[in-house]
């Protein structure tokens, strides 16, 4: 506070209980967290985008997955991810969209590796993890996922038990209506087939030998099938993750 030309009016001594008061306004606000500097012009331009407009039909995906997914995740669709490495693939799917301003939520998967998410390119500033361990949580599963599908572009769901057909239909309809993408981790719990099904097979890890080296990358084949334009099966071999933790083409 700056000394200013107001008249200080001293109250009679009996009314001044504490002559040197404490005042919350002497506390200053902390400086905002420093943002890391963009490494390239393309990255700076990407950060300046504040969200994929809802009018756009697809959410962007990383270049490694672009061929497999016809250049993006179609808004309003459901995607199923299954097989060894499902979590890595799910993170790879949401990475680019979160980096360009979309929000993502993970429901019912408290084990999801956040360090792996960060390495895959997921913007952790726009990732929420919903804990379903509370006593009433299992009954409210449908309402929780529906609320998230209504407000967030990407919702990752890993159900613990079999999903009822009525819930699955309602969630898919809501995703279609709101233009969100519902990503199901672990296909067995769902009564119906998603619009796009990604299965992982033949994973081999490279790097460690008997005691030497470290895990460097995993080579895995992704098989995409589904409905509509996804009906024709497509395959791609990916490094998921590569040595930096990023999904990449070999």
């Amino acid at each position: 506070m700056v000394r200013s030309p107001g008249h200080a009016f001293t109250l009679p001594a009996g009314l001044l209980v504490e002559p040197e008061p404490f005042d919350e306004d002497a506390i200053e606000e902390p400086a905002p967290a420093p943002r890391s500097r963009p490494r390239s012009l393309a990255e700076a331009a990407r950060r300046a985008r504040t969200g994929t407009p809802a009018g756009e039909r697809t959410l962007p995906v990383s270049p490694a997955l672009a061929d497999l997914l016809f250049d993006g995740l179609r808004r309003g669709s459901t995607v199923g991810v299954a097989g060894p490495g499902a979590r890595s693939l799910a993170l790879a799917l949401i990475a680019e969209a979160t980096a360009t301003g979309s929000w993502a939520a993970v429901v019912g998967d408290p084990d999801l590796g956040l360090a792996a998410a960060a390495e895959a390119g997921v913007a952790l500033a726009r990732l929420a993890v919903v804990d379903l361990s509370g006593p009433t949580a299992s009954r409210q599963w449908g309402a929780v996922v529906a609320a998230l599908v209504g407000g967030l572009d990407l919702v990752l769901v890993a159900p613990r038990r079999q999903v009822r057909a009525v819930d699955a239909r309602r969630l898919a309809a809501r995703a279609r209506e709101r233009g969100s993408v519902l990503i199901r981790i672990g296909g067995a719990s769902w009564p119906d087939r998603p619009d796009l099904e990604l299965a992982l097979a033949g994973a081999t890890w490279e790097g460690p030998e008997d005691g030497y080296g470290r895990l460097r990358c995993r080579r895995v084949e992704v098989v995409a099938t589904g409905r509509g334009r996804n009906a024709r099966e497509r395959r791609a071999v990916l490094l998921l993750p590569d040595v930096r933790g990023v999904p990449a083409l070999p």
Partner: protein
């Protein structure tokens, strides 16, 4: 002669310093802080002297000042303890506006006639507030600070200056607001984003900001900038087109049966506040002052006026109604109604045209952020506090330590949450290099690692394996043993000896990456003689 300041009513502001602490009965000299959503909301003088500042995390604050008493913020208590002060001020003036627990204001024109002069008014107000505080929080309270000036904003700053000047009260003479405000930093406007831009433009004080032409300010900063510019010039923030609202804007709810419990009435109050907000928005209006009125079964009428410098949003409105009800229903017997409430009315007393909000262009909250915030708030409503969590970077050697989940508290764009290591941060020694495991188990599963002869693999004190691992058996969740898998490849072991100087938090363990013939790679950790699967490279 008329001046632009004639329209600004002369106002007295009463501030009870550090009310969040005072309300909880903290004595001024003792080090204490109040936490809201995991961050320091207020700290006592002794704590601030040790380096505790607002917005710090609990751990950081305790590091600066280890003997500090940590209290959780309790807005209900704050409201409850402040209600007698407001009630007592009715001896001075019938029309007191509360802006939040701990701060209230009233126009001085009426009481001045009664008491004869501003000096007498200040003494009378301090006496009344002092006596009310004695009764409400006991004799250890730090008193109050008073400020009189043209307009509420200036009076508020004068009351703050009174705390610094240790005089108890500051009076800004009639027409003296611009001179009083000129040297103040732009941060006091309470609009951090605007203040940030102004400082970068070289306008560090309110005087420099007020010297700009109003047309330029509106052109560059819009309606919000205009309000701030008016405040900086010593005028009221709300432009003169404030109108008396038509009476049908009041919303009311009848409570049948009569309610005397805060939880039940708070629920009605919340939906009432939302209804009022939506009604106003439908007419293109926003509310800056609202009167909360309640009627009891015995025909008593309680009313209190709440005001904010900005416009009151739906949740701000709901908060104020809840605080008010808390003050009435749980306050001391003098203010408590004698029967249950039968009717609750919200009367928007002062409305301004809603100027809307411009979504952020460079950074700031985007439309997607706001949509997400609403959806996540809904999930918190369904599952309870702490059910929605966001990642925060902490740093560490193991995947589980590097990023942790913190409960969603304020908003999604919460300031200060760090989700990535700073660009210039040195690497953690002993950290596992990327790729990181995509599944980090909250409770690691016990496992057995066997060598070629079926004996458990051990690690000696020098970090050397007793034999090459050949088979891996991962225990099931309920003690159900899963099948045995062959080890295809492995790497490590990498020993870690952490915090060896602290016997309670000392951790010594060995990490090993193992690829089994099921195609999965796992991170095994040997600690206290037991192998566990800490993470899976899913």
């Amino acid at each position: 002669m008329s001046t632009p300041f004639d329209s600004v009513p002369r106002t007295l502001v009463v501030r009870c310093p550090d009310w969040p602490l005072t309300a909880l009965g903290v004595v001024p000299g003792e080090p204490a802080l109040v936490l809201a959503a995991g961050r320091v909301a207020a700290a006592s003088k002794a704590a601030r002297a040790a380096g505790v500042v607002r917005g710090q995390r609990r751990r950081e604050a305790q590091g600066r000042c280890p003997e500090v008493a940590v209290l959780e913020r309790d807005e209900a208590t704050e409201a409850r303890r402040f209600e007698p002060v407001v009630a007592a001020l009715e001896d001075v003036t019938p029309w007191v506006e509360v802006s939040r627990p701990g701060t209230c204001a009233f126009g001085v024109r009426g009481p001045l006639r009664l008491l004869g002069g501003e000096a007498a008014l200040l003494v009378r107000t301090a006496e009344v507030v002092g006596a009310a505080l004695d009764a409400a929080v006991g004799p250890t309270h730090p008193g109050c600070r008073l400020g009189i000036a043209d307009g509420r904003f200036t009076a508020d700053l004068a009351a703050r200056a009174a705390g610094v000047a240790a005089a108890g009260a500051v009076v800004v003479p009639v027409g003296g607001s611009p001179a009083f405000l000129a040297p103040q930093p732009v941060g006091v406007l309470g609009r951090p984003d605007l203040a940030d831009v102004l400082v970068r433009l070289g306008l560090a004080t309110l005087g420099a900001f007020a010297a700009l032409s109003a047309a330029d300010v509106v052109g560059r900063f819009g309606a919000e900038g205009r309000a701030a510019h008016r405040l900086a010039a010593g005028l009221d923030g709300t432009p003169p087109q404030v109108r008396r609202p038509p009476p049908d804007l009041a919303v009311a709810v009848d409570l049948d049966p009569p309610v005397d419990r805060i939880d039940r009435v708070a629920f009605a109050a919340r939906s009432l506040a939302e209804q009022l907000h939506d009604d106003l928005r439908g007419r293109g209006l926003a509310c800056t002052r609202v009167v909360v009125e309640a009627e009891t079964e015995h025909g008593e009428r309680l009313a209190c006026c709440w005001r904010d410098e900005g416009v009151l949003g739906a949740s701000a409105l709901a908060d104020r109604v809840r605080w008010q009800l808390e003050g009435w229903l749980h306050g001391p017997p003098a203010v408590r109604p004698t029967a249950g409430l039968v009717r609750l009315t919200l009367l928007p007393d002062e409305v301004v045209p809603a100027t809307g909000r411009q979504a952020g262009f460079w950074g700031g909250a985007s439309a997607a952020d706001e949509r997400a915030a609403r959806a996540l708030a809904r999930v918190v409503g369904l599952l309870g506090e702490g059910s929605v969590r966001l990642p925060e970077w902490r740093g560490g050697r193991d995947p589980a330590d590097q990023l942790v989940l913190v409960p969603l508290t304020g908003g999604v764009g919460e300031v200060g949450r760090v989700d990535a290591p700073p660009a210039d941060a040195p690497p953690w020694p002993g950290v596992l290099p990327p790729p990181s495991p995509a599944a980090v188990h909250a409770d690691p599963v016990p496992a057995e690692l066997l060598d070629a002869r079926g004996r458990p693999v051990r690690v000696d004190g020098r970090g050397v394996l007793s034999a090459a691992p050949v088979a891996l058996r991962v225990g099931g969740r309920e003690g159900r043993a899963a099948g045995k898998a062959h080890v295809v490849a492995w790497a490590g072991p990498w020993p870690v000896d952490e915090r060896w100087w602290d016997p309670r938090r000392h951790r010594r363990r060995v990490r090993l990456q193992v690829v089994a013939d099921d195609g999965m790679a796992r991170l095994l950790v040997l600690e206290a003689g037991c192998w566990r699967v800490a993470a899976t490279y899913d």
